[in-house]
């Protein structure tokens, strides 16, 4: 049986149940997505964009789904305290693919800002959401997006109206929690209207040792002159598979920073699709991965310079230990007429062992002549002379190596525009290199209570 079949059967049998526990706005594109899904098949390694991640194989096992939306008896606010010191965030949780709506904190956000369950809010504001939902995640191109659109029942909505600046950073913690092998399909919709400002930090955590398969589609609309920061931090387990599709659509003079950090994972595939649709738009697209054992991190990015005078900056760094596999594909398209484009792309990778694999494909596709575009990619090891220098000064070899690796990825962390979060990440990365993964303070999960 091909891996698509079980999902086709599932949807045919459970369509009514899925719709019943969701909202009209989310239900509307399901039929179309299903038709697309039946046309498409899961990408195999024969598909160029999935050359290094065999999606078909990863979707083949049988996972449980919570389509009937049974409550999971856990209060994340009690058990989970992975907060960032000195950083006061508006904290929200998503348990599996369900927004945790009980005991929400009082954040005193200005009136007009909407944050919360995508399902609930789309029942309240159907007209607003119908305008945006599913408009970027094209189901006809990618079977995984189609599958997510078919099955997603809830998620997060963030809506920041025109001109509003949200001072307090917003944090969303995604928790995977189950007793059987489990699949989750979550959806995030972010609308930042003209001139608005917001920052969102999304953390992925896995609480149980069963196999998880998570798909997520994030659609981000950034209006003219708006500023938006999105930080994604993955700290999951080796039995977690994550497929994330992020779509960003930027209007004129908008400024977006996306920083995806994979600290600990199983198999991760992040697809990022940025469209610079208005003049003067700017994107900083950064990413970093530290992987060991048999971990697999694949970042596939695409930046579409659709109009003139836009700028993009891309920086991805990988540190691969043991038998880890890293893949990076970065495509920059400069369309005809997109003059005065400036685009920089850098991908640097450290392979620590013989078994570690790195595949990198920086790509430029340019149809305009008055542009400045460059990309650079390197794969190598730590600088021996730098190591020697440090050892001369009495720093042990292991420590010297750690320091250099730390400095190597430091560049990506430094792009973070929240001081407290940056400091926190420096600490987490340091710990990660020292093999003290996941041992943060306080929280039930880490202290093993």
């Amino acid at each position: 049986m091909n891996p698509e079949q079980q999902y086709i059967e599932l949807f045919e049998q459970c369509e009514a149940m899925i719709c019943k526990h969701s909202a009209e706005v989310l239900n509307a594109p399901r039929a179309r997505a299903f038709a697309d899904f039946k046309q498409l098949s899961f990408p195999t390694r024969k598909i160029e964009a999935y050359k290094y991640t065999d999606a078909a194989k990863l979707f083949a096992p049988d996972y449980g789904l919570n389509l009937n939306r049974l409550d999971i008896p856990v209060n994340p606010y009690d058990v989970f305290k992975c907060d960032v010191p000195n950083l006061s965030t508006a904290l929200y949780f998503m348990v599996n693919d369900r927004f945790y709506g009980k005991a929400l904190p009082k954040n005193n956000f200005p009136a007009g800002l909407l944050i919360g369950s995508l399902k609930e809010l789309s029942t309240q504001y159907p007209d607003l959401l119908a305008k945006y939902y599913g408009k970027l995640g094209d189901t006809s191109k990618d079977a995984i997006v189609a599958l997510n659109t078919m099955l997603a029942q809830d998620g997060l909505l963030l809506y920041v109206p025109k001109g509003m600046a949200v001072e307090k950073p917003i944090q969303l913690v995604n928790i995977l929690r189950a007793d059987v092998n489990f699949m989750v399909n979550r959806r995030v919709l972010i609308i930042i209207e003209d001139g608005a400002q917001a920052r969102l930090l999304m953390c992925d955590h896995t609480m149980d040792k069963v196999d998880f398969l998570a798909t997520q589609v994030i659609e981000v609309f950034v209006g003219a002159g708006a500023t938006f920061d999105l930080y994604e931090l993955e700290e999951s387990t080796t039995s977690t598979t994550r497929f994330s599709n992020l779509y960003v659509h930027q209007e004129a003079d908008s400024n977006v920073l996306v920083n995806g950090i994979t600290l600990h994972n199983g198999t991760t595939r992040n697809t990022t699709h940025v469209t610079l649709a208005g003049q003067g738009a700017h994107i900083d697209l950064c990413g970093m991965a530290i992987a060991d054992k048999h971990q697999h991190v694949d970042n596939n990015t695409f930046i579409d310079h659709a109009v003139n005078d836009c700028t993009s900056n891309e920086l991805f760094k990988y540190v691969l230990d043991d038998s880890a596999t890293g893949a990076f594909a970065g495509k920059v398209l400069v369309r005809e007429g997109a003059q005065h484009t400036s685009s920089q792309q850098t991908n640097r990778n450290l392979c620590v062992t013989r078994q570690a694999r790195m595949y990198t494909q920086p790509q430029l596709e340019i149809y305009a002549d008055d542009v400045k575009c460059s990309h650079g990619a390197t794969v190598g090891q730590l600088d021996e002379s730098a190591l020697f220098y440090m050892r001369q000064r009495g720093i042990g070899e292991k420590e010297a190596r750690l320091l250099l690796m730390f400095a190597f990825v430091g560049e990506v962390i430094d792009t973070i525009r929240l001081d407290a979060l940056r400091d926190r990440l420096h600490l987490l990365v340091d710990k990660r290199f020292r093999g003290e993964m996941g041992k943060c303070q306080g929280c039930t999960m880490c202290s093993g209570k």
Binding site: M358, Y359, Y367, G380
Partner: protein, 490 residues
């Protein structure tokens, strides 16, 4: 046969005149040519083999390749728009020497035209050759017309002859190496070539011999509706050295011609091979009509320790180029280089680059690729650097720059890096830019026209690669660059 050809040319006279200036090599040489019926089948493969009086093993090789080709599909991964090719509408064998068996006389007929072209390309034949000390094997359509300087080379034990001659006279060598670097199953066009290849050059440099002159092949598609499927095989034995030049031209025709060649190079212990190409097949007219489809598989195998292979190419012609000269670095401490300038103008499309496969220890490779796009053309660099598990201390440096002259053309880079060894150091850099207004203004101020200024700047930009070419080629390559970009400014 001859009359038929001339008639075909008549309707295009106007187009011909119009484009004459742009493509200087668009003459047809009126030599009597024997062309076999169009179409491809097992009979055709057998017929080609029979016409050349080939031994049984070679016919077997061709048939295996043909049968395998039937099971394959044309690759679509390149960043190219390739119109459908009707492989049955092509004649797979054309022999310009068929009428007159006495080769020298036939060469005399060709001479004035050929010489003119050689002048332009800087590949001298006969007299000129004596001056520059070069040995030339001229391949017109499918058959080697004449190999010069053979005797001089023979004294040193160097074999430089057409591949059909080599099959007759050195069957052991050919059988040993043919298909050893590019197997017939390698890709669609390699399979096609293996089935129907008609001629090409064979070079063997014996142990410890440094080839005293530069060897050169000159390829030309002459007859209409024929494909050229030449096959070059170069074997450099231990401690030897050879520099090999290849030049290509074709007459102007408004139907497309197919060129699917294979070049195989074997480099043994401590040997060095330098392979330079100036490719100037007819690129089609300004409207994108006609031109050569250049689908070439070139690969060298640095088999021995301390071996070295260097590819240098200047690509200015062809309507469509699909070409990735590659190196397999299996000998320890072997070195590979790839220097390329690819110019596309009007409707030309090029998808070219290299593959560096590091298998041995301490192997090094350098890639320098310069793409120049003008008009409505598309120019892509596509390259692969692979470092295998056992390739300790592999080192690669790649640089690919693109220059855009016009806002309707495209410049793309698709590098792949597959690294499986932690001691590897691999670097890739790419930039895309246009000629700065300041530079042009500076030239204009000093009385240099914009067109000349562009020629100047482009040559400076490509200098890193052109410097790698042998002297005779370098001068002409510079001129070719200017010719190719003629009319691209305005």
């Amino acid at each position: 046969m001859e009359n038929k050809e001339i008639k075909k040319e008549e309707p295009n006279k106007y187009v011909k005149e119009l484009t004459q200036e742009k493509y200087k090599y668009g003459f047809t040489t009126e030599v009597h040519t024997e062309i076999i019926e169009k179409g491809l089948s097992e009979e055709v493969v057998r017929l080609i083999s029979a016409k050349k009086g080939e031994p049984e093993w070679l016919l077997e090789f061709r048939l295996k390749a043909y049968r395998h080709w039937l099971t394959m599909e044309m690759p679509t991964w390149a960043h190219l728009r390739i119109p459908e090719i009707d492989y049955q509408a092509i004649s797979y064998y054309a022999d310009p020497t068929a009428k007159k068996k006495d080769a020298p006389k036939s060469l005399d007929e060709v001479d004035p035209e050929l010489l003119k072209t050689f002048d332009k390309l800087g590949i001298p034949l006969e007299e000129q050759m004596a001056l520059s000390g070069m040995a030339v094997d001229a391949v017109m359509d499918s058959v080697s017309v004449k190999t010069t300087f053979k005797e001089t080379l023979m004294e040193k034990g160097i074999i430089f002859c057409s591949i059909s001659e080599a099959v007759r006279e050195h069957p052991d060598l050919v059988q040993k190496y043919l298909g050893s670097v590019v197997p017939y199953r390698d890709n669609y066009f390699a399979a096609l070539n293996s089935a129907v290849f008609s001629d090409g050059s064979f070079v063997y440099i014996p142990k410890g011999v440094r080839c005293p002159m530069e060897l050169s092949t000159y390829f030309r598609i002459n007859a209409a509706n024929t494909g050229q499927f030449e096959r070059t095989l170069i074997v450099a034995d231990d401690d030897s050295y050879v520099s090999y030049l290849e030049g290509c031209t074709a007459p102007m025709r408004d139907e497309n011609q197919l060129h699917a060649a294979i070049v195989e190079i074997v480099v043994n212990d401590r040997a060095e091979v330098k392979y330079s190409t100036v490719q100037n097949w007819y690129p089609g007219d300004a409207e994108g009509k006609g031109g050569v489809y250049n689908f070439v598989t070139k690969r060298g195998h640095c088999k021995g320790v301390d071996s070295k292979l260097s590819w240098t190419q200047v690509e200015t012609g062809s309507a469509i180029t699909w070409k990735y000269p590659s190196c397999i670095l299996s000998g320890d401490n072997s070195i590979a280089e790839f220097y390329s300038v690819a110019v596309t103008n009007n409707h030309q499309q090029a998808d070219t680059g290299t593959k560096m496969i590091h298998l041995g220890r301490n192997t090094r490779s350098t890639i320098v690729s310069k793409g120049i796009s003008a008009g409505l053309s598309e120019n892509s660099y596509r390259g692969l650097v692979r470092v295998a598990e056992k390739a300790d201390n592999a080192r690669n440096y790649s640089q690919c720059d693109s220059l855009l002259l016009g806002d309707k053309c495209g410049a793309h880079t698709f590098p792949y890096m597959d690294i499986r060894n932690e001691t590897a150091i691999v670097e890739h850099e790419a930039t895309t830019s246009k000629i700065s207004e300041d530079q042009i203004f500076y030239c204009n101020q000093r009385g240099i026209s914009t067109e000349d200024a562009i020629g100047l700047i482009v040559n400076g930009y490509a200098k890193e690669v052109i410097n790698k070419l042998p002297m005779e080629f370098a001068v002409e390559a510079q001129k070719l660059l200017s010719i190719s970009l003629e009319g691209s400014v305005g």
